[in-house]
Amino acid sequence: MRWVVMAVALLAAACGSQGQVSDDVFTPAHRTIAAAARDYFNVRPAAQQPIPFPHKTHLAKGAECTDCHETVEKGPIAGIPSVKTCMVCHSQIATTKPLIKEVTAYSDKGIDIPWQRVYGFSQEAHVRFNHAPHIRAKVECATCHGDLKQMTVAERAVDHTMGFCVNCHRQKNAPNDCLTCHY
């Protein structure tokens, strides 16, 4: 019985006062109960992209991952390219297509396309992932990001749980110390 009461109280708090739980004395790690719950259950909403970018189409035309995600071999971050990168080709290519017109509209206004991240970790996980050593170790992009050749809009094909990382690290004799990734 007391579990039901607690559940109801939790619901009420979450839905009622917008779940804000901060005051001068008590400052929690998350701003709302909803945010805390999402973090705890590792729930992330699927990314809603402003333009349905088709990876399939671009890869089929011979583009490489690193043509747009340029810095992945040199540093920690693969990065989501700026609309400037799109315009390198699309100022000339397929300029009449409606989606390309949308891209060009962003570029003309000086506004970057508001892509939403597909992969990532919550801040509280304190994961410091570095792409470059993985690329040097010849890990394929598809291993962690799924086969983009089959996808239009990028989907979270692979669940980046800690187990996923640790399993591969164990197999490849990569370091497994906490401090390797969490610092």
Binding site: P76, D177, C178
Partner: protein
């Protein structure tokens, strides 16, 4: 052979300027807590310069001693952590894993050097101070413990770079922010497993002692005592 990171701090060179303290704040995204929280003892100086007076005017002397986490090989903060957030790594560092930490603060209680700090609040950086934050270092949220990591982000970056260039890490290549900024070169960082490294040589000096050695914590920082002039 695996690295064993250690430090030597030369109290004969240290002039107490505090550059190491500010450099550490800049490198490690340490929040500025403000006057009222500082008054409650919550200022977070991962490295601090202790100063001790000796004697009475006019025969008065003063001694400076920079103190940060000693990365003890028998760290008292490690066995008391219920979640393995504080543990020892193969390279000799005392790791503080923020995502494991649940904020019991037993580690700070156990630490005899008082070098562990608790985040009583979520850090705030009034814009655009947040643009200065180091992206290689975590922002710690409320409820976790933090402390000097020997700039583990620099160690990791140095090791990854060396691996990319298919070579070993050179002595002196990796410099924590405090050692890098010290104009008197009082702080020396390096591999204690390399007997020829600068830190190993300094650690062998007769002037060298360890802080609170008698407690058996096996700290990895050798303090070189201020010499007296003949």
């Amino acid at each position: 052979m695996a690295h064993k990171w250690g430090m030597a701090i030369d109290q004969d060179r240290c002039t107490g300027c505090g550059a190491c303290v500010t450099a550490c704040h800049a490198e490690n995204n340490i929040p500025t807590v403000g006057a009222s929280q500082a008054a409650r003892g919550r200022a977070m100086h991962w490295i601090r310069v202790e100063r001790y007076w000796e004697g009475e005017f006019p025969d008065v002397k003063l001694k400076f001693r920079p103190v940060m986490c000693q990365q003890c090989d028998a760290a008292p903060c490690e066995p008391v952590c219920p979640t393995y957030a504080s543990h020892h790594t193969a390279e000799g560092l005392n790791a503080q894993v923020y995502n494991r930490c649940i904020g019991t603060r037993y580690c700070a209680n156990a630490c005899p050097y008082n070098v562990r700090f608790f985040d009583f609040f979520n850090p705030e950086w009034p814009r655009p101070l947040d643009a200065q934050l180091n992206p290689d270092v975590s922002i710690r949220e409320v409820g976790v413990m933090e402390k000097c990591t020997f700039c583990v982000q620099r160690i990791t970056a140095g090791e990854i770079q060396a691996e990319a260039e298919k070579r070993g890490v050179k002595d002196g290549e990796i410099q924590p922010a405090c050692a890098q900024s010290c104009s008197a070169r009082a702080i020396v960082f390096g591999d204690l497993n390399d007997p020829e490294s600068a830190v190993s040589r300094l650690a062998r000096q007769e002037r060298g002692t360890k802080l609170l050695e008698e407690l058996g914590t096996l700290p990895k920082i050798t303090y070189l005592a201020k010499q007296t002039q003949a």
